[in-house]
Amino acid sequence: MEEQFPIKKIIDDQGNLIDSSYEKEINEELVKKLYYHMSRIRLFDRKAISLQRQGRIGTYPPFEGQEASQVGSVLALDSEDWVFPTYRDHGATLTFGADMTRTFLYWNGRAEGCVPPEGKNIFPAAVPIATQIPHAVGAAWAEKRKGTKNVAIAYFGDGATSEGDFHEGLNFASVFKTPTILFNQNNRYAISVPVEKQMNSKTIAQKGLAYDIPSVRIDGNDVFSVYFETKKAVERARQGEGPTLIEAVTWRTGAHTTADDPTKYRPEGQGEDVINPIERLENYMKNNDFWDEKWIAKIETELTEEVESALEAMEKYPPANPEDLFDHVFTNTPSQLVEQKEAYLELIGRE
């Protein structure tokens, strides 16, 4: 199966172009866009870890190491498309247009963090594993029924492929030929369980064979490979050719969450040889005269300001309102819930 699904790469770890068929499509504008967003989400991610350590937000699941997978895939979409993320995909949602202050709010236990900007089809992060896959298939199915060209992307990890909802989602996508991108980030660990213990299959891509879904295995740390393969899948979906399964092989640099200690289960030194995706893109940029110190310094300043101001806005956000406990469960709140709300608000001295 590894022969049938070789890991596709466009650039190698040293940033050398090894698939020249993309040479023309890789221009300065694209390179800078990818670099910008990867740098942006890394700053966010590192900031979030630091905030958790200071007790300023709750438990946080870092995505460092997966920036190429998230940025490359989500930038292959158009603004009308749908994104169904997991809790580790805020890099993708931020790149797609989610609000950074609200993303911080989400990790500070606030439902405001699930509310996307108007017109952005970003679903709340799925915390149960794989359950978002059928949602993405349903939303894509709806687009097909409406006769649009829009697609939906479902993000999920390697562990998710052991869940029933993964298989049920793929089967529905295949049977109803929905315009769905099934984007797997195989970061090689589901909390503590390595992918070799998660499955006896050598690849995740091969699981698409069972559903007759075209599948591809790519280097998830090569942002070009992620971007162009996702583009192809999106194009197929828009042409009415149905779903694609993409296995992006990547590496979770850090812990599962800030509450997790990977030294308990990862052999010492494992992953040290992984060249992180930003460094890899930098290598490419340096090799190809796209390395522009002035521009890099400028965006670093800009991005730091953006993250700091989003953080400041999060910390200045009005406190969580106890009324929100009750007001959004139903469109028309049942009388018993209204009574619970009124009695409680009176008790705590509101109203």
């Binding site: 709340p124 915390v127 349903g138 939303a139 049920e168 989602g169 469960v329």
Partner: protein, 339 residues
């Protein structure tokens, strides 16, 4: 009575004699005609018309895109319905039997019921999950469960259960039009038990409202779905012994019609609650809480509950012993009245 006359304000001119399963079919047909975004998903619901024929003929009229035979996958049906519902459609998802809803429980518990709250109203899932429930038709194992409290306990979804053809159509239309998710339980034992006049057009019965189906003075008997006929039969026998029963059909199990329960129990001072599900953790306990909260000082006897026993629903050779019978209900009525 008068209540019914009001309810059928629109297009009440013509009626037809329908069984409950025909009324369910008619409700879906009405809504498929009325609203293009309505679609039905389920196992064997297309060509086969559903194992109970609830969707009979609908695929022929509305096509395979709107009456969809899905793969055999309850989580897939409910999960894709979530995606359809947030993206402009009104899915009616059929679970073939309530005993087979469990694979979809995760989707319902972790997504269907929560999406509205966690997005502060930005996304909602106006969908109906229809499911035949209950024992009494000699069905195979696991086909006869009454799992309503798994869902009444779940904040964010309404639970509805009609007892008559008229209510089945009106409540199902209301459920489909509801902006929030509704679990719609259909008592399979009542599917063909009676026919009654059902209006041909579109009408709805309000979700959250029960109905006093029999006026009485000594004791309030509370039931719904397949237990309503059992409660009525017991009430009739009690009448012959000089005990006057007021019978309530709750119709909606969440949110409960607390006013209806309180008003009746305050009048009679006694209550007997009848349900087919197991007693422990059963909805009877919530109804007792309503009575406790609203009518404690009116009580003249301890509240009685007649429920399924705390055992898994048995193979059908013993199902008549599992379910509440008029005899058991009558015993509880006597106990309450003669306390």
């Amino acid at each position: 009575m008068n209540v019914k006359m009001e309810k059928q304000s629109e297009q009440k001119e013509t009626t037809q004699q329908l069984t409950m399963v025909q009324a369910v079919n008619d409700a879906m047909k009405t809504m498929l005609e009325h609203d293009d975004t309505t679609i039905i998903l389920g196992e064997d619901i297309g060509k086969n018309g559903g194992v109970f024929r609830a969707t009979e003929g609908l695929q022929e009229i509305f096509g395979e895109d709107r009456v969809v035979d899905t793969p055999l996958s309850e989580a897939g049906i409910v999960g894709t319905s979530v995606g359809l519902a947030v993206n402009g459609f009104k899915p009616i998802a059929e679970m073939q039997f309530m005993g087979f809803v469990y694979p979809a429980y995760d989707q319902i518990m972790t997504h269907v019921s929560r999406i509205r709250m966690k997005t502060m109203g930005h996304f909602s899932v106006p969908m109906v999950i229809r499911t035949p429930y209950g024992a009494g038709i000699r069905a195979p194992e696991v086909h006869s469960d009454s799992a309503e409290t798994l869902f009444t306990h779940m904040p964010g979804i309404k639970v509805v259960c009609p007892a008559t053809p008229y209510d089945a159509k009106g409540l199902l239309i209301a459920a489909i039009e509801d902006p929030d998710p509704v679990l719609f339980m259909e008592p399979m034992r009542s599917y063909r038990a009676q026919r009654e006049d059902v209006p041909t057009g579109k009408y709805s019965v309000e979700i959250g409202k029960g109905e006093k189906v029999q006026e009485g003075t000594d004791v309030t008997v509370i039931a719904w779905g397949a237990m309503l006929p059992v409660a009525k039969q017991a009430a009739k026998q009690a009448e012959q012994q000089g005990m006057s029963c007021e019978v309530l059909d709750l119709k909606t199990l969440y949110p409960l019609d607390r006013d209806l329960i309180a008003e009746s129990v305050q009048k009679t001072g006694r209550a007997v609650i009848v349900h087919e599900a197991h007693g422990t953790g059963g909805l009877g306990n919530d109804i007792m809480s309503v009575i406790n909260d609203t009518s404690f000082l009116y009580l003249r006897a301890p509240i009685e509950r007649v429920t399924g026993f705390d055992v898994p629903v048995p193979f059908f050779a013993l199902e008549e012993h599992y379910m509440p019978t008029p005899k058991r209900v009558l015993q509880s009525i006597e106990k309450a009245v003669h306390f």
